[in-house]
Symmetry: C2
Subunit: 241 residues, 2 copies
Amino acid sequence: MQSVHIVSAYDEELKFLTKRIAAMGGHAERMVEQAVAALVNADPGLAQKVIQDDIVLDEAQREIDDKAIIIIARRQPMATDLREIVGAIRISADIERVGDLGKNIAKRVAAVIDGRQPSSLFRGLEALANLALTQLKEVLDVYASRSVEKIGFVRDRDDQIDAMYTSLFRELLTYMMEDPRNITPCTHLLFCAKNIERIGDHATNIAETIYYIVTGDQMPADRPKGDKTDQVVLPGPVSAK
Amino acid sequence: MQSVHIVSAYDEELKFLTKRIAAMGGHAERMVEQAVAALVNADPGLAQKVIQDDIVLDEAQREIDDKAIIIIARRQPMATDLREIVGAIRISADIERVGDLGKNIAKRVAAVIDGRQPSSLFRGLEALANLALTQLKEVLDVYASRSVEKIGFVRDRDDQIDAMYTSLFRELLTYMMEDPRNITPCTHLLFCAKNIERIGDHATNIAETIYYIVTGDQMPADRPKGDKTDQVVLPGPVSAK
């Protein structure tokens, strides 16, 4: 009986980590959704809510880290369980960072509100955010189900996110060149776009961690990390007005 | 004899992690230094070297992760050693990210080379990089010596980095408003500045991890994370030429 009790308590501890990460993931997704909504709808109240919400993820990450260390020390887990626990530490760090990026978008709402930009820019940002959030959601679904064989979608969607980010980057530079009054708001929108692109990178990191948890191996093949805009040069001003 | 042998091999394993992290730190510092030098001196050859150098950090991080897991599984370490090992996993992730940021600066060299910007901008970027690299170096010194009581400098220098980044951010926006031809190169310089500011954040993360390794506690008090430029709004074009 004692041994059954111990094993079951241990399982509960591992399940606690998984559940806590699922909750963190949901919270981070909501923060990013609301930050982008606050940006698109010029809603400083919603932006403020997102900024305040970030502390929840900071605390959850600390809790997961502390719990993970306690489980390792108490249970002295072997290979698979150890990967599970160390994986939880890594994934919660990625999710916490996604929350930071959402908060950073929310903090830029005030700077963008006055200079109204073309709605196509906001639609572009929304589309990019949807793609990155879908990536994050599906990666967290794979974490919940451990169905690592489904993880192939990650690289393809990563490429889509990069392509959409590059096109938005060019569009923003073009607006900045058209009218100097666009420079400040479009710079903040550039950083928002970059933040969203980074969320996609964190989703990919999480996918790599899940692959490692399940298989014990690193995910094969070099994925081209990061965006492709670092070489973008636009030819002078589009319009000199 | 056997037990002495085992303990000493264990100590060697822990020392291996510390040494490997010191080497990673030195490598990342060099990458960032050279990336900024490539930017300031318009040296695409040096930029290319930095881009190629990044793989060293990726491999070192994997090696530390794998080794850490093996040590935990084999030695079943208790509290302090466990914090040491989990801390090594965290710190190597921060250093790997510093290398990524250096690589990203190097990748922007080509896009900045044609539109020569005022030398004050490059001096500003160099000064910011020096400050962030000093922060990183001193934090890694604290890691090597475990002299956690010296860690107070981190917050002050973090504030200096933020202040210098904010001033550079404003200066870059001003140049963009002066002449639309500055927009593309200055946007890339903005991202370079942001990358350097992030290096400071990673140094602070590492300081927090060291504090945790040594004391078992989280570093007290909320530090104001990230930059303060998210609210910066410049009043229209400085010059409409």
